[in-house]
């Protein structure tokens, strides 16, 4: 098991205690392409934060690649995030004053990788995303799809155990959304990268092989979706 969650509970204490995750049990295998679906307020964002080691949980156990992720210091958490997790965000989250290549390099910079090697790797990943000629461009000179591909290159460059994508198509038009989902699919199929997509869009979830529904802080139905037939509504096209 790459990811194993056992009875994860999380309560927010902002004035009134809010029990957001009420005992989540979940396992995800290496090489899976999974989506976590739920309405807003269902706890899917909280779950994503915990999976991404961005937030702590109150009780239970979370193992990532055999490592217990619990009560980490900030420094350790940063280290694990850097080495094990690649993030793809809805709003791309590129740093505006850095070029595409510099954005892609950044995770390696925090690993202390030498500059030359960093630059070579960044170019390699940008070319893989078809963005070689855009390496020296700044994010505001690129389209949404290009920006998201830069972000994907940045997520991949540290060869993480999992890619966490938070509404990766949320800020994109439908055509670009399809391209990005196809790219993720391809990465999963061809390179065997484990990808978890968090979304509230049925069409996006339908592109993944397994859909985990979360509702009111507990895991609901888990749909096998190898045939991509789970969603009968508008497809991502």
């Amino acid at each position: 098991m790459l990811i194993s969650l056992k009875d994860i509970n999380k309560t927010y204490n902002n004035g009134q205690p809010l029990h957001v995750l009420k005992g989540i049990d979940l396992s995800i295998d290496k090489g899976e392409f999974v989506s976590i679906m739920g309405a807003s307020g269902s706890g899917k964002s909280t779950l994503l934060n915990i999976l991404g080691i961005l937030d702590n949980y109150d009780s239970g156990e979370y193992h990532l690649d055999g490592v217990l992720i619990k009560d980490l210091s900030e420094k350790q958490a940063a280290e694990y995030r850097n080495r094990m997790i690649g993030f793809i965000f809805q709003s791309f989250n590129l740093i505006g004053f850095k070029t595409a290549a510099e954005n892609v390099e950044l995770p390696l910079y925090y690993q202390g990788v030498p500059r030359k090697k960093r630059q070579a790797l960044a170019m390699e990943y940008l070319e893989k995303m078809g963005l070689g000629p855009w390496a020296t461009h700044f994010p505001n000179e690129m389209s949404g799809g290009q920006k998201q591909r830069v972000a994907i290159a940045r997520a991949l460059i540290t060869r993480p155990s999992i890619i966490l994508a938070d509404e990766p198509t949320g800020a994109l038009d439908s055509k670009t959304s399809v391209e990005v989902m196809q790219l993720l699919k391809q990465l999963n199929k061809e390179e065997g990268i484990t990808i978890i997509v968090v979304t509230h869009e049925g069409g996006v979830a339908n592109e993944t092989d397994k859909i985990i529904h979360i509702r009111d802080g507990v895991i609901g139905q888990i749909e096998e979706n190898r045939q991509h037939t789970a969603w009968s509504g508008p497809q991502v096209k």
Binding site: L54, D55, A78, R81, F87, F89, N93, K98, D166
Partner: protein
């Protein structure tokens, strides 16, 4: 690493041009004032020291004064007069190799020198040839009093060039060899000495023996001046001085614990006091400069705080992709140091230019106080050491200014990255 930091700093500054300029100005101004203050302080000290240099630091002058306690049957408040025995003792074998150039001086006598219808005031003193060395007298014409003058009690005198000008306005040097009368006694002028800026008082000198013969038949000596060799440290010097003092005290029946009866003045202690005063001035100037700089530092701290607030999202992203708190902390502190140091150096450079200008204008001007010429500021510049100290100060200041903003930035939670902008 360095390139990254420079790049990031560049972007911060571009985003906040006006704020950066205003803040930078405050830092530049602080350092500018600090450098100007230190430069002016150095100039003042240099001009003091320049005037002091005329005196030999190891020269000691002994004079009698009033006792403050009764002793050996004598009443208190007795005037002590040094005499020939003291001179002989000082020259004696007890101090061979330690004291030399012993120069007794008579007390002075106000006289009016006249040459024809021209007159000039003067203060006549009887001296020995060693006086020239002692007081660093530079001859402008003729020679100084020599041993033969003393032995033969010649009626010769050496005056200052400025006095000579009064008596012989067209050609002062022509006065050498001429006779000048002083209080109805005629003296032949044998030499003229330079009255340079540093020395505000130079007497009319005649041979010691001549003075004694004409004006003072007693064996009293007004003061004894001599050079000391041997003591290297202040402690050694004090030891020498105490021994010498007790010997003279015994000869005049002054109570051993009475410090008032004898007055011993030495360049050693004076030099020490001088450098102490210099240090105090320096410290005061540094404190003033640093206080001015504080407003600049607060400004930098302010701009960094605002910048950190604006970049919360960015720090969230950085932390999400693996930046440790230390990474963010050092980034902000490095930015702060860069702003402080860059603008600080501009201020330092301008300050040094201002010091040069100060040296060329005020420094070049000397003020004539009648009896002496003084230069207000002598070479009012700061040295490499001050530049290095100021650099260090800037780095410390930059670190302090960046500390609070950096700690705020390091505390940004990575979840911030997930919030939409």
């Amino acid at each position: 690493m360095l390139a990254d930091i420079i790049q990031e700093i560049g972007s911060t500054l571009r985003n906040n041009k006006l704020r950066t300029a205003l803040t930078g100005f405050a830092v530049s101004w602080g350092i500018f004032l600090l450098i100007c203050l230190l430069g002016a302080g150095n100039g003042l000290m240099n001009s003091f020291m320049g005037n002091m240099n005329e005196y030999v630091s190891q020269s000691v002058t002994v004079e009698g004064w009033y006792t403050s306690m009764p002793y050996a049957g004598y009443r208190s408040n007795r005037r002590i007069h040094l005499d020939e025995k003291d001179v002989a003792y000082t020259r004696g074998r007890d101090w061979a190799g330690i004291i030399d150039n012993v120069t007794p001086s008579t007390d002075g006598k106000s006289v009016v020198l006249s040459k024809g219808v021209l007159t000039v005031d003067g203060y006549m003193t009887g001296v020995t040839p060693a006086y020239q060395e002692q007081e660093k007298i530079k001859m402008a014409a003729g020679r100084f009093i020599n041993a033969n003058d003393l032995a033969e009690k010649r009626k010769v005198m050496v005056l200052s060039l400025s006095q000579a000008r009064e008596l012989s306005p067209e050609d002062p040097e022509a006065l050498v060899g001429e006779w000048v009368s002083a209080a109805s006694v005629a003296f032949r002028v044998i030499g003229l000495y330079h009255t340079d800026e540093g020395n505000w008082y130079r007497p009319v000198t005649i041979p010691y023996t001549t003075y004694k013969g004409i004006y003072d038949a007693s064996d009293r000596v007004e003061s004894i001046n001599f050079q000391v060799h041997g003591p290297k440290t202040l402690a050694e010097f004090k030891e020498f001085e105490d021994t010498y003092r007790s010997a003279i005290k015994r000869m005049h029946d002054i109570a051993p614990q009475d410090d008032r009866g004898l007055w011993i003045m030495n360049g050693y202690t004076q030099n020490m006091q001088m450098s102490q005063a210099q240090n105090i001035l320096r410290i005061a100037l540094w404190i003033l400069g640093i206080l001015t700089l504080v407003s600049g530092i607060v400004g930098v701290s302010n701009i960094m705080l605002i910048s950190v607030k604006e970049r919360t999202h960015e720090f969230g992203i950085r932390k999400a992709i693996g930046a440790k708190p230390g990474h963010v902390l050092s980034l902000i502190i490095a930015e702060s140091i860069t702003i402080t140091a860059a603008f600080g150096y501009v201020g330092m450079l301008l300050g040094m230019v201002a010091c040069e200008v100060m040296g060329k204008t005020i420094g070049a001007r000397s003020v004539d106080l009648g009896f002496q010429q003084i230069r207000m500021l002598e070479n009012p510049t700061v040295g490499l050491d001050v530049a290095l100290e100021a650099t260090l100060l800037l780095i410390v200041a930059g670190t302090l200014a960046g500390l609070i903003p950096a700690m705020k930035a390091a505390k940004v939670r990575p979840i911030e990255a997930l919030r939409a902008e």
